[in-house]
């Protein structure tokens, strides 16, 4: 072997931009854009300082947190939790057929396209927009919040399930089909065992997310602790708002811990 006749220097080719020249041009453009957008931001130092003094005032009025209206607080928290649990349950149940329909390797082409279309449209709108819509339809209160979270959970869980199904090993599916099994049996024997642990993990994650989201949708009037929080802010009851925020932090932390614990068990 004659190593001297070969180049001793080698760098990996640029993966995304194709050539080194294009890569350099792209980086230069990105830097120019950052410089330009910073120059147009128009940062007003005086306004920022005024905000700081107001923040100090706000936090001073939040302290000490006022837990005296415990019943109202508890009612809101429990409502939020119930919304989160019910929405997750509905989401899990309804996402199974939608997820199967949206899996390219299981569903016939037209069914797949329809289900994917539904998921794309459903994911277009943020929870808050859906919540406003449901509040208009069903009035203020937890029903609108529950429907919002359930709707989003179905779409999210179905998308995750469809992607998990598309990633299963095809060999077992082929083998089960070869025994003369029908479609339902193929799903129950070759698909579900392969996606079950991931799907349970996703559902637990969604429960955790729904606990967080349930506090947000209340702000537009869809029930739960968020509605209580929004009301306390608009009445300048900052000490009560602080109590609510602390409870939300505790609840979300608890949800996160539970979700981690369950998913740890699943591995």
């Amino acid at each position: 072997m004659n190593a001297a006749a070969h180049p001793a220097r080698w760098r990996p080719p640029p993966a995304f931009f194709g050539t080194r020249g294009r890569q350099r041009a792209a980086i230069a453009l990105a830097l120019l854009y950052v410089a330009w957008s910073v120059s147009t931001l128009n940062i007003d130092l005086n306004r920022a300082l005024a905000g700081m003094t107001r923040a100090v005032d706000l936090f001073a009025r939040m302290f000490p947190p006022d837990f005296s209206r415990g019943a109202l607080l508890a009612k809101g928290m429990i409502e939020s939790l119930q919304m989160a649990f019910a929405a997750t349950l509905a989401g899990v149940i309804l996402s199974v057929p939608l997820g199967i329909a949206a899996a390219r390797n299981l569903a016939p082409r037209p069914v797949y396209l329809a289900a994917r279309g539904l998921i794309v449209v459903g994911r277009t709108f943020h929870e808050v927009i859906i919540a406003i819509f449901f509040v208009k339809l069903f009035g203020f209160g937890p029903v609108a919040g529950l429907l919002t979270l359930a709707f989003h959970s179905v779409i999210f869980l179905a998308k995750m399930l469809a992607e998990d199904i598309e990633n299963v090993r095809t060999g077992p599916i082929e083998a089960v089909r070869a025994t003369g099994a029908g479609f339902g049996q193929v799903v129950v024997y070759a698909v579900i065992p392969q996606v079950l642990t991931r799907t349970v993990g996703t559902a637990i994650y969604r429960l955790d997310a729904n606990v967080r989201h349930s506090t947000v949708v209340g702000i537009v009037g869809a029930g739960g602790i968020g509605q209580t929080l929004s009301a306390s802010f608009s009445r300048y009851d900052y000490d009560f708002a602080a109590a609510i925020l602390l409870c939300i932090v505790a609840l979300v932390a608890l949800g996160e811990w539970f979700s981690d614990w369950v998913r740890g068990k699943l591995r």
């Binding site: 082929e174 083998a175 089960v176 003369g180 392969q194």
Partner: protein, 277 residues
């Protein structure tokens, strides 16, 4: 329910076990994987299908149970043309054909027992199979089958806890639980070490003989094909280039199937093969 008794009327007459006529498959991309392959199986025997990668071996056996839809030709299983069957009839026909795979294709997270019992899926209703409520006869047969393939006591192990050879034994058990009239075997030993490969080939051969079930075995290893098959079909570019007894594999035949190469070290006398196994 016994598939064999149910299908008894179709089995009368003297139709061969399997007739493959001018079978063709053109994949959507335009690849012509099978180009008019024909052969007949008249008695229970182990038939090795050999040929280069891309000669159409895998497509051929998948076209027989229509895991791959053929684009032309006929497949007659005791006189019934499988290519023309509708969905429900195809399921019935698949029950009669057992299949064994290169990658074993077990469902990893299920137990050995569930994998073996899944061979009965074509004969058990959806709810019963979902709830794992198999007929007592199937359960007893499955235990007997596990013992027969050398896995007694492993029924509750998860499939992914087994070694390669053990997994293939589960795959064989699943296929035989169908009480098939025909076995399709796709590269059963390509994922196994040489010793395990010989044990698995011997097991397939013994079980096929015991049950008088013909087996079509895709196989890369010419020495294994020669050692364990009664008959060899050589595929070349989607056509049958050789069809004859395993002893008829001469350097000239191998050159015809695979192209020029020094074949003298590949073809070994029968006695030596047995000793190696």
């Amino acid at each position: 329910m016994d598939a064999r008794q149910e299908d008894a009327p179709g089995r009368t007459g003297d139709r061969p076990l399997l007739e493959v006529e001018n079978l063709a498959k053109v994949y959507p991309g335009g690849t012509r994987a099978l180009d008019g392959a024909s052969f007949v199986v008249t008695r229970p025997e182990v038939i090795a299908i050999i040929g280069t990668s891309g000669a159409g071996k895998s497509t051929l056996i998948r076209c027989i149970n229509r895991l791959v839809e053929p684009t032309g030709g006929r497949v007659l299983l005791r006189g019934t043309d499988l290519v023309r069957l509708g969905k429900a009839d195809l399921r019935q026909a698949r029950r009669r054909i057992g299949m064994i795979f290169q990658e074993f294709n077990l469902v990893d997270r299920l137990t050995v027992m569930e994998n073996v019992l899944s061979g009965r899926l074509g004969s058990v209703g959806f709810l019963a199979s979902w709830m794992r409520r198999y007929p007592a006869r199937d359960v007893a047969n499955a235990f007997a089958m596990l013992e027969r393939v050398g896995l007694a006591g492993l029924h509750d192990s998860r499939a992914d806890a087994l070694s390669g050879g053990q997994r293939q034994r589960v795959g064989i058990g699943r296929a035989l639980m169908q009480e098939p009239e025909l076995l399709l075997v796709d590269e059963p030993t390509a994922s196994l070490d040489p010793k395990t490969a010989r044990q698995i080939m011997r097991l397939i051969r013994t079980l096929a003989e015991e049950r008088a079930t013909p087996a079509l075995v895709n196989i890369h290893d010419v020495a294994l094909a020669q050692g364990f098959a009664d008959r060899v079909i050589g595929l070349k570019a989607g056509k049958v280039a050789f069809d004859g007894p395993a002893s008829g594999l001469t350097p000239a035949v191998l050159t015809e199937i695979y192209g020029a190469e020094d074949w003298s070290r590949t073809i070994r006398p029968e006695a030596e093969e047995e000793a190696a196994a």
